[in-house]
């Protein structure tokens, strides 16, 4: 019996694929484990993650838990001042903080597109780590899936956040009362315009940076001087206008704003003029709206001005009884107009 010819036969051991995501990274085998041990774990390192179980077991101080989830699909992945990772952490930290909770833990689910470079993933994960460190939260569990090239915009991140609400605190969009002051923590429109500029489709250049930031320490400072914070919300998609309309509807009140007290950076205003946008509808990722009892307004503003991300805080309006479920704006020339919710996508106009 002659020996079979084995010249030309080979054993197809997977190549290491050191520099980009391939479908194998999502299959739960060694490649996926490598992603965790080499990229996610060193960045997010904490006891729950190190335990390596299917879920995280966490110590939770007594009180109510606030939980929030958000998915992030922003394109491009990197833009001036921030990136999808930073946004994914700050966005969820902020949503939890807006309930008056102290954010403690985040989970992170990743959908990676085949072909995404590991360098990009590492950059994003580092950014998440930096944001988590600044916020003082831990990313305690996660998941990774990989989709075929063309079926994802590079990557999508979903984060869930958990926080503890101190006893006796109740902050909700349903609690705005007539007479309350409406406070805005700073100038609006930076994030939306910076992403639009980074996309490049409309051809303009600007230095505007995203304002993406974790606001939980600012919220804690505000809560330390006033037990009368009724509503907190960050004006993300749809901007200040949409957010205040939601609150007016939830609380069945009216809100009247002073145009001259709403700050817009000159560069943001210039882009809005050029394209026909209204800054009131543009997304912010590092600003908050607070509706608080009038008598506490000035001390809350004072503490905000001494706290990072609140330096430019201002009272921009007040809550009224009528007209209910309506947001009004007193213009700089002394007239009053209705501020409606955003109707669909904001598009550049020629009219």
């Amino acid at each position: 019996m002659s020996n079979p010819d084995i010249n030309g036969a080979y054993c197809p051991v997977p190549l290491p694929h050191n520099d980009q995501i391939v479908l194998g990274h999502g299959s739960g085998g060694k490649m996926a484990a490598d992603l965790i041990s080499k990229i996610f774990l060193p960045a997010f390192d904490n006891p729950a993650l190190r335990a390596g179980d299917d879920g995280a077991v966490l110590d939770v101080p007594g009180g109510q838990i606030a939980v929030s989830v958000d998915s992030h699909v922003v394109s491009p992945l990197f833009f001036p001042g921030s990136d999808i990772g930073h946004l994914a952490v700050c966005g969820t930290v902020n949503d939890v903080a807006m309930m008056g909770a102290r954010p403690l833990y985040l989970t992170a689910g990743f959908i990676l597109e085949e072909g995404l470079t590991l360098d990009t993933l590492i950059r994003i994960v580092s950014s998440m780590k930096a944001a988590a460190n600044e916020a003082g939260v831990q990313i305690v569990c996660g998941d990774t899936k990989v989709v075929q090239r063309g079926k994802g915009d590079g990557l999508y991140i979903t984060t869930t956040g958990l926080g503890i609400i101190p006893p006796g605190i109740s902050i909700s969009g349903t609690l705005a009362k007539p007479g309350d002051a409406v406070i805005l923590s700073g100038p609006i429109g930076d994030h939306g315009i910076s992403v639009l500029a980074a996309r490049g489709e409309l051809g303009f250049e600007t230095d505007i940076q995203s304002d993406s930031a974790p606001l939980n320490h600012l919220v804690a400072a505000m809560m330390s001087v006033s037990p009368n914070i009724h509503v907190l919300r960050d004006p993300t998609r749809g901007g200040v206008a949409t957010t205040l309309n939601e609150i007016a509807a939830q609380s069945q009140v009216g809100i009247i704003l002073n145009e001259s007290d709403i700050q817009v950076r000159p560069a943001v205003a210039a882009v809005c003029e050029m394209l026909g946008f209204d800054p009131l509808y543009i997304a912010n990722e590092g600003k908050l709206l607070a509706i608080i009892a009038k008598e506490d307004a000035s001390k809350v503003i004072s503490i905000m001005k001494e706290t990072k991300y609140g330096e430019e805080a201002r009272i921009i309006g007040e809550v009224t009884t009528n007209p209910r479920n309506r947001v009004l704006l007193k213009t700089e020339i002394g007239s009053t107009r209705v501020v409606d919710v955003l109707m669909g996508e904001m598009l550049p106009r020629i009219c």
Partner: protein
């Protein structure tokens, strides 16, 4: 001088409004015929500050609103075709045709792209030689110089895959129809400042003299609008009803922009044009000259069998001519809203109905 903040000065605006109040002795109906002016008036709440004697009416000045339904349906038909990249100004994406809008076509897989400038559409054509790139060239006279330059530039670059779908309208014929109607109530006209920046204002004296309706070329900032209104009110109160005032003199000259007019004449010719909600107004539009047929999307694509269906409830035409107000319409705010517009004036945020819905309900 930055040309913006100075013309929004609250103290000056209030001063001019007070002067209007001092000047006016009886009621007057004024019309503006520019979507941009409608937007600015409503956004700054200027009409609230005017004396009640002044009634401001919003004419058919929004090119998005007046684009005829057949043209919208043609745009949708082309955008739905395979291998087409359909480019458009942002305003047009939400406009519903007889069945759908460009958003839903995009969701179904059509390649629909918003561009800020028509030259961006030409660039897309250059970068995608295997695709047909079509640009939806709508507008009044203000936008014509840009739209025709796209054709000239595409021709210079030797592009074979670029064409435009034209729906251009002109202001003077619309004014003639409005003022010539037996039920016309308009006594004074604010003329669109940027239309006049391009075309000059030599077409308007004949209209003012023929109909005894004074006119003021007006800009867009609150101070410009107040100034234009003041000038017309002064002309009306002193019986100088055949005069024109250039209240936007920093941007407008009598002759207008001659290089732009020359190029417009080279590429476009006058033609009859349907205005949505009003009907066909003779010689009120611009179409591509025959020598530019190979850039004409209506010829390149087979979209002749279009049967548009307009809503029966919609009174947009009467609103645009100043004869009715949005609140007079039985469908306003009910069957007809910005999310489900039935007709021209609810379709774009500059349309009278949409502006009222958003700012003034």
């Amino acid at each position: 001088m930055k040309y913006v903040t100075e013309f929004r000065d609250a103290h000056l605006v209030k001063g001019v409004i007070e002067e209007i109040k001092r000047t006016v002795t009886r009621s007057w109906v004024l019309m503006e015929i520019c979507g941009g002016q409608t937007h600015s008036i409503v956004r700054h709440g200027l009409d609230q500050l005017l004396p009640t004697e002044i009634e401001l009416v919003h004419g058919p000045g929004c090119p998005v609103c007046v684009t005829p339904l057949e043209q919208i349906d043609r745009a949708h038909a082309i955008a739905s075709m395979p291998n087409v990249i359909f480019t458009s100004y942002g305003d047009m994406l939400r406009v519903p045709g007889s069945g759908m809008d460009l958003f839903s076509i995009r969701a179904s897989g059509g390649d629909v792209r918003v561009v800020y400038s028509p030259l961006d559409a030409v660039r897309i054509a250059k970068e995608n030689p295997t695709k047909q790139v079509v640009f939806f060239a709508i507008g009044f006279e203000t936008t014509a110089p840009a739209n025709v330059m796209a054709v000239i530039h595409a021709k210079m670059l030797g592009l074979q895959n670029f064409s435009i779908l034209v729906s251009h309208v002109r202001v003077p014929p619309a004014i003639r129809i409005i003022l010539g109607s037996s039920s016309n109530r308009v006594q004074g006209f604010l003329l669109a400042g940027h239309v006049c920046a391009v075309m000059g204002y030599h077409e308007y004296p004949a209209l003012a003299e023929g109909f005894h309706v004074p006119m003021a070329i007006t800009g867009f900032e609150p101070l410009d609008l107040a100034n234009g209104i003041l000038k017309i009110v002064r002309l009306l109160e002193t019986g100088r009803t055949t005069e024109i005032d250039n209240s936007y003199s920093r941007a407008v000259t009598f002759e207008g922009n001659l290089p732009a007019q020359k190029i417009i004449n080279q590429v476009f010719m006058e033609c009859d044009r349907g205005w949505r909600g009003i009907g066909v107004i003779p010689a009120s539009g611009w179409c591509l000259r025959p020598e530019y047929n190979n850039f004409n999307a209506e010829i390149r694509f087979d979209v002749t069998e279009i049967q548009p269906r307009e809503s029966e409830l919609c009174i947009a035409g009467q609103i645009m001519q100043g004869r009715k107000k949005p609140h007079d319409c039985i469908a306003f705010g009910k069957q007809c809203s910005p999310e489900h517009p039935l007709g021209a004036t609810m379709v774009s945020s500059e349309g009278a109905c949409a502006a009222y819905y958003k700012y003034d309900r």
